[in-house]
């Protein structure tokens, strides 16, 4: 046992001394962090500047401005509600709109929120109940800013606007702020539905959609009035909207999303198993090939048995894999509990399966067994190869055989598909079992399938250790060309005397 540990420690140190190991180790947390920061980086700090030249009397420009203000306040209220829900601050005012999370805030709700004092009033109440270390609510910035129409521009006839707006949309001066959208409501709007819009880039769906919606409502109101409906009734008809009640299992959208969030951890473990196995297995393979090509094996085998060498290598590689996983999980936990960003909001509910002891045991078992079952394949390849080029010949088909169905499986799970023949096949074929069961744990897998596949996996691992152990032993000092399939099978059958 001592020799196994000494070999494992050397393997661990050798891999840990590689630059590629540390780069790989840091890539995942870094990409998660970048993933969390990216929305902030790509988010435009400056709101879109919209100018409305209303030649129809000014009511349309006012309606558009009010609508942008209303939508912004709806965003503020929605975000405030999510902030309160995440931090369980409903106690500040249970009757307040922002304590009611199961609804879509209507225009009337937004108006009531503003009338009740808006963000200032809400945060004042929340501050009374929130913990000191709970961050304060920060309202989102408006997406749109309505800019006034300069008199010189208002005086321009419609036909000259194209020329006149060039410098407004793309000013020559570097420090001048461009106007992103200019909307022209012509004098005859109503009789004619024609409206012109200039934009200094590809128009945003949200801005154009809002303008279109406001003007559509106005056209409908005008139409209904023209059909004899009273102005009040016509306005009401144009503003009719359903009151949406939304069920929101915390913190995401619908039930399927909730299931997916809860399946993230087992799925992530399956994915991490795949990544760490592929990487640490490749490193172990390199080490074994190095021992063969550097003529080291005879020296090592004079001190330890082939079995000790094999188990030591497996243990060292598993140690590397588990270390990688531990670092990644540590980063995830840090992100979950030490930060308050989007990552934390995502990870916390994803850790929900950890409340089940059975799930934890299953995850650890299938992870470790998966490691042994796949890593030993890498080890046998290393023992049969005199160079990395030789090893690649075996490695690529094996990797494809393992990873391709798993990639399809993960896509299926992410798509919410937990059944199907493929899923069943992958669950019961031992080299895919760990990935399939881990991926299915979050979405629900019958207990008998978990236990049955676990027993089958253990039996397969035992058989693999015996057969590939023989192949490893017989291949260590074998020289010459790559063994044929018949030779490989013959080495597996060779019982050590």
């Amino acid at each position: 046992m001592t020799n196994i540990l000494i070999i494992a420690a050397r393997e661990f140190r050798q891999i840990a001394a590689m630059r590629s190991f540390w780069l790989t180790l840091l890539i995942i947390p870094l990409s998660m962090a970048i993933g969390g920061v990216t929305p902030k980086l790509v988010h435009k700090d400056e709101p879109d500047r919209v100018m409305v030249i209303d030649r129809s009397g000014g009511s349309e420009a006012r309606a558009i401005a009010q609508r942008f203000a209303l939508d912004h306040n709806r965003d503020v209220l929605t975000e405030l509600s999510r902030y309160v829900q995440r931090r369980h601050l409903e106690g500040a005012d249970r009757k307040a709109l922002w304590s009611q999370h199961d609804r879509w805030y209507s225009d009337l709700d937004v108006a009531r929120f503003i009338a009740a004092g808006g963000v200032a009033s809400a945060t004042a109440r929340i501050d009374l109940v929130k913990q000191k270390d709970t961050p304060s609510y920060e309202a989102p910035l408006p997406d749109v800013e309505i800019v006034p129409v300069p008199a010189s521009l208002a005086a321009q006839p419609d036909a000259r606007l194209d020329e006149a707006l060039k410098l407004v949309l793309k000013p020559a001066a570097r420090d001048a702020k461009p106007v992103d959208y200019v909307v022209l409501i012509p004098t005859g709007f109503g009789a004619s539905p024609l409206v012109r819009l200039w934009a200094n880039r590809q128009p945003s769906q949200r801005v154009v959609g809002t303008i279109e919606d406001v003007l559509t409502r106005d056209l409908r109101t005008r139409y209904l009035s023209a059909q004899g409906m009273s102005a009040r009734a016509a306005l009401h008809a144009s503003n009719i909207a359903p009151a949406l009640s939304i069920s929101t299992p915390p913190p995401g959208g619908g039930a399927r999303e909730s299931m997916l969030v809860r399946s993230i951890l087992p799925l992530a473990i399956a994915y991490l198993l795949m990544i760490s196995l592929t990487l640490s297995g490749s490193w172990m393979l390199q080490g074994t090939v190095e021992e063969r090509s550097n003529k080291l094996l005879e020296t090592v085998l004079a001190c330890v048995s082939p079995e000790e060498l094999m188990y030591g290598k497996l243990l060292g590689t598993a140690g590397i894999g588990l270390f990688m996983i531990a670092v990644w999980i540590g980063c995830a936990l840090f992100a979950a509990y030490a930060t308050q960003g989007a990552i934390a909001d995502f990870i916390r509910p994803a850790l929900a399966p950890l409340s089940s002891v059975g799930t934890i045991i299953a995850m650890i078992y299938f992870f470790v067994a998966g490691y042994v079952v796949i890593a030993i394949l890498f080890l046998a390849i290393g023992a049969m190869s005199d160079s990395m080029r030789d090893a690649q010949g075996y490695l690529m088909p094996v990797l494809l055989m393992i990873l391709l169905p798993i990639s399809i499986l993960m896509q299926a799970v992410l798509g919410g598909n937990t059944g199907g023949v493929l899923m069943e096949v992958l669950t019961w074929v031992p080299i895919w079992t760990p990935f399939a069961v881990l991926a299915r744990l979050g979405l629900g897998i019958p207990t008998w399938e978990v236990i049955g596949s676990a027993i089958l996996l253990a039996a397969f691992a035992a058989l693999e250790i015996v057969l590939l152990g023989r192949l490893f032993r017989a291949s260590l000092l074998a020289q010459g060309q790559r063994p044929s399939l018949a030779e490989v099978l013959s080495r597996m059958r060779a019982v050590p005397n």
């Binding site: 000494i6 050397r10 050798q14 021992e291 003529k295 005879e298 020296t299 085998l301």
Partner: protein
């Protein structure tokens, strides 16, 4: 008790009989030469002694036990094909093999540092192997074999690939280990090393033993030869097989290369010369070299392999 004993050991790889009914023993403190051409079965025999491969038949005893890793703490081994972990430092490498041979971490590092110091590599102890010259790496390899101060040191073609400086270093280490009471078994096909170092020799050809004994015993395998300067042809003397005239040594005297019959001692021939008043100006016994013995016992075909 023998440090190493092989009793009727054979090893067969498919159709090839690599070692054929080999028996010998090595006594404590001996420097034992394992001689043979390429493919004679030397490496296979040593691998069986180390339990890297198992014999097809026969019995092996190492330090009174069956071969196995239980002996690792008392055995040192330097294989013919040598290599090191390129990314490990010199000291870590030696300490690693020391640990695999049952040493504690501190003992292994202390002994490793002492060996590196003795080999003139103290300043390189923290250098990774890939930064060492080939000669330095050879010294580190030797250190990995002897870090545990083995009772039995097995060296497979230890001089192959070594530069002259390291050949001298290795010879000194073999003598040092032997003086300290260790038993050294080394295989070689370079006869000069064996002549200089070995107390006993074993000649192997095609897997089978052709000779075992001391250097003198080996030389006795060949008929003695004399170099004479005489007036007359010495082939008439009793015990002489042939005498070849090698030309005039001085006026009236000729130089003769004389081959004696097997078992005839040069002293007996000298006595007869005196008795028969056979005129001599020079009587010189020529020792057969180990190379001659090897060629005689194993044959030209084997040496050419």
């Amino acid at each position: 008790m023998s440090v190493l004993a092989l009793e009727r050991v054979s090893k067969r790889f498919d159709e090839v009989l690599a070692v054929d009914d080999l028996s010998f023993s090595v006594e404590p403190g001996t420097v034992f030469g394992f001689l043979g051409g390429n493919g004679a079965g030397k490496t296979t025999s040593l691998r069986m002694v180390l339990d890297i491969i198992r014999p097809t038949s026969g019995r092996i005893e190492v330090l009174g036990r069956a071969p196995g890793r239980a002996n690792a703490s008392q055995v040192g081994f330097l294989p013919e094909e040598r290599g090191l972990y390129r990314q490990m430092t010199a000291l870590d490498t030696i300490a690693y093999f020391g640990r695999l041979k049952g040493m504690t971490r501190s003992d292994a590092r202390r002994e490793g540092a002492s060996l590196l110091d003795r080999f003139g590599l103290a300043a390189n102890s923290r250098s990774s192997v890939d930064k060492l010259s080939k000669g330095m790496a050879q010294k580190v390899q030797l250190a990995t074999a002897i870090v545990n101060r083995p009772k039995l040191l097995i060296l497979d073609e230890p001089f192959s690939g070594l530069d002259p400086v390291n050949q001298g270093l290795l010879e000194n280490e073999i003598r040092r280990m032997s003086a300290d009471g260790a038993t050294v078994v080394f295989s070689t096909h370079v006869m000069q090393h064996a002549e200089r170092l070995c107390d006993r020799l074993l000649l192997l050809a095609k897997g089978a033993k052709r000779f075992e004994g001391t250097l003198e015993d080996a030389r006795a395998e060949l008929p003695a030869r004399l170099e004479l300067v005489a007036r007359n042809d010495p082939s008439t003397l009793a015990g002489v097989v042939s005498a070849e005239d090698r030309g005039e040594a001085e006026p009236g005297w000729r130089r003769w290369d004389v081959r004696l019959s097997p078992g005839v001692a040069p002293g007996d021939v000298l006595e007869r010369c005196v008795d028969e008043q056979f005129a001599l100006r020079r009587f010189e016994q020529r020792h057969a070299s180990l190379h001659d013995v090897f060629v005689h016992l194993v044959g030209h075909a084997e040496t050419a392999r």
